[in-house]
Symmetry: C2
DNA sequence: TTATTAAGAGAGTTTAAAGTCTTTTATTGG
DNA sequence: CCAATAAAAGACTTTAAACTCTCTTAATAA
């Protein structure tokens, strides 16, 4: 809807890992791919980017996998979106004009300002660990089936 | 940001034609492409779809072109978006789950409900003719340069 | 110290959106 | 009726996102 498919997978994966990291230690790629119903190799690529940008941690080898330490649980959805989709959603023009601005606005500039603001506030105020309980209780889902 | 590129062009073209239709009669493809700074052949394809769906009118031949009659000036941005991008923006799940719903929600379902609603209200309440004055006065723009 | 495990890296393929080109059809002014 | 004009239609190409595959590197447990 607002995010690229890559970003949708990224958010779902991070919420999965954040939840996983509470009790059991590390989650492997197969487990993550299964847990959010995404293509294994594809989510692997995405996780590489998230690790490189410090949003999640990983270790190789036996008992290795992906996890999120206590520090990183403070990250928000906005952090993920910025890393994966860039600033497009927060700064881009609704009609695709690269020079759209306060002084040279497109017709939708004003209306979209409020919407953009609401999205920004929602994403910056949502921490990646805050869904753990609902997910564990089966009140919210990260995959279809 | 929210729309496909095709849809961005579509909205800009319709606003251009709506404005054009106030005084001078019909606008040709070259003129429209120039007026919104879009690829000529591409906007031609898009306009075909809009005509087929009754959002704008056209006539062929000398003095032909695209125009919007008084009836159709009542159409809103939401009508254009529905024709070009479908219901995705209004109904799709933020995390890409096809079965996301009130009873089986993704973690972002609740937060996104309000945002989606605000977008919907903005688009359904914005008529395609309402920017004519601002466009004519050079207060709003449909292209960069 | 080596076999095994699991992520990292990079190249390759597929698919869908974006954009182009050519031919056909409709309109109209002469 | 005919030539010119302009949109309609459809096939085609390009580009970028989505997705896959294979090989490498790091960690560890025996």
């Amino acid at each position: 809807m607002f995010f690229s498919k890559t970003c949708e997978y990224a958010i779902r994966a991070v919420l999965f890992i954040a939840n996983r990291s509470e009790d059991a230690p590390k989650a492997g790629i197969q487990e993550i791919a299964q847990g959010i119903d995404s293509p294994g190799h594809f989510i692997a690529k995405i996780l590489q980017v998230l690790v490189r940008n410090g949003l999640i941690q990983s270790t190789k080898g036996p008992n290795g996998g992906f996890y999120i330490d206590s520090q990183n649980r403070q990250y928000t959805l906005a952090d993920i979106v910025k890393v994966v989709d860039g600033e497009r959603l927060f700064k881009g023009c609704g009609l695709g004009l690269s020079q759209c601005s306060e002084t040279k606005p497109c017709p939708l500039h004003e209306s979209f300002k409020g919407i953009r603001q609401q999205i920004y506030e929602t994403l910056t105020s949502t921490k990646i660990g805050e869904f753990n309980e609902a997910l564990n209780q089966g009140l919210q889902y990260l995959k279809e089936r």
